[in-house]
């Protein structure tokens, strides 16, 4: 197994499958009366969050606690970071306190990679800028595999703001590794330069893609990262790239609708769709805990 999880590209097919299989077993713990395993007793996991996050931080916290690790939550607000401490100094401080793993979210792409050079413990990238969010890709792959029964040959449409989306980047890489066929659907202004070199097809027309899709993943329109006008208006975006009830009915009967959260209801996804039986949005959150338990177990379980 690898020492850190910084990018979905760190995982080859065998390792990614091992993580998903391990997560399947971890999921059974959620159904027990005692939702606790002794596996990581005495280890310390630090959640180092420089960006706001509810579900990812909580999910990592629950995952670490279910494995009996000690969890320290460290958010930039209200810490010495607001006094101007650098990432490196913060990292070395955590290191001195004996962190076995650091889960980091940072607004700068590549922050997790830098951190991995400074600390001895394992580093898990929980989202760095617009770069990667590998555990989200793993939980999405897990959700697709449990709902659709397989990943090989599954047709996935990733719809929306690909340019700013670390979820899309990690998903494209991981899904390609696992044999799924990915189509990116987005306005041309929200596609990154060099997208033609990604292992994915590109389309500008959502309605043309939907009938041949097994899983459609809606991305959040990230207004906080948008400094330019990437589309004329929110209503126009919703009309062309939003998933409403009519578009959902154009999907094959078995197809699922995914969203990494948090949702802009009425923007990229209609409430009718988000609350439908095809929606896996709440399931994705539950699966996130199992997948993160698997990642922490595989990264930390064998280390002395």
């Amino acid at each position: 197994m690898i020492a850190h999880l910084l990018s979905a590209a760190d995982l080859d097919r065998e390792t990614a499958t091992l993580v998903l299989d391990t997560a399947t077993e971890m999921a059974t713990v959620a159904g027990r009366e005692v939702k606790k395993l002794p596996t990581l007793r005495g280890r310390t996991v630090v959640n180092l969050f420089y960006e706001d996050s509810t579900r990812t931080r909580t999910s990592f916290e629950v995952a670490a606690k279910r494995l009996s690790a000690d969890v320290i939550n460290f958010s930039a607000k209200g810490s010495s970071v607001s006094k101007g401490e650098s990432l490196k100094d913060t990292a070395l401080t955590l290191q001195a306190m004996g962190a076995d793993a650091v889960v980091i979210r940072h607004s700068a792409s590549g922050a997790a990679h830098r951190l991995a050079h400074w600390v001895d413990g394992s580093v898990v990238n929980a989202g760095d800028g617009t770069h990667e969010h590998p555990t989200q890709a793993l939980l999405d792959a897990y959700t697709m595999r449990s709902r659709l029964g397989k990943l090989d040959g599954v047709r996935v449409a990733i719809v929306g703001d690909v340019l700013h989306s670390r979820v899309a980047r990690s998903n494209v890489t991981l899904l390609a590794t696992l044999g799924a066929e990915v189509t990116l659907v987005s306005p041309p202004t929200l596609l990154p330069v060099g997208v033609d070199s990604w292992p994915a097809a590109v389309s500008y027309d959502l309605d043309a893609v939907l009938p041949d899709t097994d899983a459609v993943m809606m991305l959040r329109v990230q207004r906080e990262r948008m400094n330019d006008s990437f589309f004329p208006s929110a209503r126009e975006y919703a009309r062309r790239y939003g998933l409403d009830g009519a578009r959902m009915r154009a999907l094959p009967d078995h197809a699922i609708v995914m969203h990494p959260g948090p949702m802009n209801r009425g923007m990229e996804i209609a409430p009718e769709v988000a609350d439908s039986a095809r929606s896996t949005i709440v399931e994705q959150v539950a699966n996130g805990v199992s997948v993160r338990m698997a990642v922490l177990y595989l990264l930390l379980g064998g280390k002395s």
Binding site: M1, D21, V34
Partner: protein, 209 residues
Amino acid sequence: MTAPPADLPEGRPDQGAADQANSPAEAQPAQPRPILNASDLARITARIAHQILEKTRGAEHTVLLGIPTRGVPLAHRLADRIAAFEGVDVPVGILDVTLYRDDLRLRGTRALGPTDLPADGIDGKRVILTDDVLFSGRTVRAALDALNDLGRPSQVQLAVLVDRGHRQLPIRADYVGKNLPTSLAESVRVLLREVDGDDAVLLADREVR
């Protein structure tokens, strides 16, 4: 329950406790030596099934939990025999103990097996843990911890195919297929049809993992 001394390799004491002093290197064949064959295994499973029926007075409210990998087919075989002898259906489950092991840090992480308890659970039942080889006792300790998190059995018993000695914890088996005194340098390999395509117990020179 103790195997007749005639089966034992020459020059070994009957019980395993004393033989740590033995030098394992001298005059040992390179090939693994067969200790039990398929018909031996069939007789042993039948005997343990009878012992379970006798000791539990008919195996009511009893659950067999196999510890992966080879404890699982053993548990199924015991349940089959019990059903054949007295027509009692004993539920069979799987108990993976990987996450409860104390040697993960030393040996590295391993892939997890499934844990699958019978539908009625284990609360208030007599649980018989089943494994192929009883050695240090650490696997059984892990299994007892795992059981503790899964429910509250009224009683826990242990059935093993081979007891090779060298216990590191105060644990003993209730049902033993064969007591096999070994030296620490030897390794016991159990082959089962369901997993390995063949039924046999072999004794080899070195610990192969």
